[in-house]
Subunit: 132 residues, 2 copies
DNA sequence: TTGATAACAGTAATGATTATTAAATATTTT
DNA sequence: AAAATATTTAATAATCATTACTGTTATCAA
């Protein structure tokens, strides 16, 4: 452990934030988390939500998913997976595509670029919105 | 043409902004475009850059590429392609992966989701940064 | 040439996120 | 257990990218 590493103590707020992200499949935003926990922890501050989200990110317990224009969303699923994003209602659904690793290899063939991770998002219309 | 559609007049500023994005392979940001054109058009305003970028987006002449945390970048390459993003220097390089369409089909099999487009970004270390 | 309106520059406002700070908690040491 | 030490919190201010507003100028069809 380097001198710069911080030892994080446990905190009720951080635990609740993590649990909420894990329980929800919504890929919630900071403000959504804040509003959801406000009732249970009335003293909660939005700054605390953001600070703890960054700690959870640092600890590798969650991932941040940034979408065009909108604010960041957070994901407690840390296994490699991808997203289906509805352009009408904004819903974000998970999808698992094992064959993506083949594309990795293709990418590495031509370019001398050391890939550490990737993101792949599909945009379109979800089943629900298509029915309307 | 619906009543809500706007007829865009030509403007020197917008043409210069578009040309710059097309000539550069950099995927430049709004502020970078602003600084680059300031010399040629001293009266140019950053708001004008943003407004015209949105018009060009609406016209489908450019694409916006949002990266985690940083500000938006713009791309005059509208053919489907993907990106290699260096996590050290922030450089954005283009890469063409024809086999991605196979993954599309896999995605469509399971879920009833009508995909209109997608994005795929690879993060890692570029050749230049790896040498240092 | 003129009337309508898009585009302009300048500036203010917005919205998401981060930084600051003093008080409240939690942990470690006496 | 009490004191000393370190971390977290809530509240608030600051920052940064982007958008909205306003009065003026440029474009273009009639
Ligand atoms: Mn997910
Ligand atoms: Mn590109
Ligand atoms: Zn939908
Ligand atoms: Zn690099």
């Amino acid at each position: 452990m380097s001198v710069n590493d911080v030892v994080y103590r446990k905190s009720r707020q951080r635990q609740k934030i993590y649990d909420l992200i894990k329980d929800m499949q919504n890929h919630p935003t900071a403000i959504w988390i804040y509003n959801s926990l406000k009732e249970e922890i009335p003293s909660l501050s939005l700054g605390t939500v953001y600070r703890n989200l960054n700690i959870l990110l640092e600890q590798g317990l969650i991932h941040k998913v940034s979408f065009d224009g909108n604010c960041d969303r957070f994901d407690a699923r840390i296994e490699s997976h991808h997203h289906l994003i509805c352009e009408k209602c904004g819903a974000v659904d998970d999808i698992f595509l094992p064959r993506v690793s083949d594309i990795y290899k293709d990418a590495l063939k031509d370019k001398k670029f050391k890939i550490t991770h990737h993101r792949m998002d599909f945009f379109g219309i979800c089943e629900k919105c298509a029915k309307k």
